[in-house]
Amino acid sequence: MAGKSERDFEQALLRNYDLKSSAMGKVSEALVMTLLVGCGVFSLAITVGIIVLLFSQSIGFFNNAELAIDPWTFLSDNRWSIGQTQGTPRYGILPLVSGTFRITGIAMLISLPIGLICAIYLSEYASPRVRSVLKPTLEILAGIPTVVLGFFAIKFITPYLLQPVGEFKTFNAASAGIAVGILCLPLVTSLAEDALRSVPNALREGAYGLGATRLEVTLKVVVPAALSGIISAFLLALSRAIGETMVVALAAGSTPTFTMDPRQPSQTMTGFIVETFQSESLEPDSIGYYSMYAVAAVLFVFTFTITLIGQLIRMRYQEVYN
């Protein structure tokens, strides 16, 4: 009696369990699938939408009836005076591009070497205790709002670091560049450190076994082995710096200049877009309105190219260790 009912119970249990799990499995599988595809399609749609918007609106810039701007002049003329009231308007994007690259260049001069050295120190030299203090500190630096860094550039870097050593204007490319460099530093450090730490220990042991010192192991084996990851980190920082807006809008000034002098004010592509967007005289369908889209499209092309190069380098040079 007892044995029979126990068997019944077992069979019922197994049968119920079976049915429920397969039905549940199908439903949740379908749900998860929909969710995954939905998210994928969503991000793709947003990307495509933004690109279409950028380029379709940029056409309005070149189709302007009064000014008849041709794309070549836009890309090659070295004066930009849209948004300024006096004089004949000139619409060469080079001052904005040069402003972007001046500031980005200064930022990279600061963040790449310091970031790489920090990464090498954290990955190869620091004891676990030191690392456990330094890593969170670096993350705090990454968490500082960019507007604070912009403020820091105007109120500290310019008057206390730069003006004592040279004729720096109140708004200048150097202080904005240094602040953007500080902004990119945690990014470079953290990504480069990941790349260095992913180098297998077997390679370090191999080099030590041949009589290499720690510095030789680091510079001749670990860094070359992590090179693709380090370059990816550099390129990501570069595109972050090119796209950075708040710091440059605050600290670099709003004068488009075509110069190599870091002491002068300069306006970047992003800085111009912010300024134009905020200006009260901006009217829809005006040349100023469309110029924002044209500048944004150029900006997009730069960052897109850098991302693409990064992907290519990763595909081409990444070493696969098993």
Binding site: L203, G206, Y208, L210, G211
Partner: protein
């Protein structure tokens, strides 16, 4: 030092190194010459003692195999011979290890020169993600002022010595990661001998290789002993019996027995050794 002379003389490639680095080798004439002498050697990881009171004399120009179950201290001992344990923060040791006149465990010992004189081959082939040439040239470039042509000769000599030259001679500038596992391991042996060591330490050099590659590397080890003192850790008892002259049996951090390989495998003096080599445990 001039490498071109020694490189051209394939039978005596270490002549210069041996003369300058270990004059003591000439003095010791009682055969077999002792290459590595261990006295009351103890090794620790933090509080844990991994090796207890080892006294061993490893003969020169012979292959000594360390056998024993996992975790019995074979690899630890091997890594102390060229101070590879320096990079493990918790590792420390007491006692004496001598290579010629050199006190290995002495704090003043120059580990860079020590590791040049004592090459190491690891369990898994670990070529650097560089060209085949640059892999072999790595050690010489660290240690020697060497002209370009001499370096090329030295790389060729090392690759020939490691029986991998014919397979790689047309692709010296290609990445070493494109080689098969067995080729990579022979490349690592070439890389180790290119710095002109007297001793080669091999930590289970065939454990990651397929049977065909294993037998090629074993043949190579057997040939290399004419010129180098080789200490090899292995889990494979057939391997120990095939390519070693002497065998030391380790158990729980102690050397239970050491002797001629043939004697260890056919007529062990200790019960533990017999149980292990006959496969009763391990």
């Amino acid at each position: 030092m001039s490498w071109s002379q020694s490189v051209s003389d394939v039978n005596q490639p270490n002549r210069n190194v041996a003369q300058t680095a270990t004059p003591s080798n000439q003095k010791l004439e009682t055969p077999p010459e002792v290459a590595i002498a261990l006295n009351s050697f103890n090794a620790f990881y933090g509080e844990f003692q991994a090796i207890y009171d080892v006294n061993l004399n490893l003969p020169a120009k012979q292959v000594t195999a360390f056998i024993g179950p996992s975790g019995c201290g074979k690899s630890t001992l091997l890594k102390w011979i060229n101070r590879m344990n320096d990079i493990v923060p918790s590792a420390h040791a007491t006692g004496v290890i001598k290579v010629g006149d050199l006190q290995i465990l002495d704090r003043q010992t120059d580990v860079v020169d020590l590791r040049r004189r004592i090459g190491m081959v690891f369990q898994k082939p670990n070529p650097f993600p560089k060209s085949i040439f640059d892999n072999v040239a790595f050690g010489p470039r660290l240690h020697f002022q060497i002209a370009k042509q001499d370096l090329a000769d030295l790389v060729e000599w090392s690759l020939r010595k490691a029986a991998v030259w014919d397979e790689v001679k047309d692709r010296l500038n290609k990445s070493a990661l494109g080689l098969s596992g067995g080729q990579q391991q022979r490349l690592c042996i070439a890389r180790a001998i290119a710095s002109g060591p007297e001793i080669l330490l091999m930590d289970e050099p065939c454990s990651a290789l397929d049977p065909g590659s294993t037998s090629r590397v074993e043949d190579l080890i057997y040939e290399l002993r004419e010129q180098y003192t080789i200490v090899m850790v292995t889990h494979n008892m057939q391997q120990a019996s095939r390519c070693s002259d002497r065998t030391a049996f380790f158990f729980k951090g102690e050397v239970i027995e050491e002797g001629q390989t043939k004697q260890i495998f056919t007529n062990p003096q200790q019960q533990k050794t017999e149980d292990y080599v006959t496969g009763k445990f391990g």
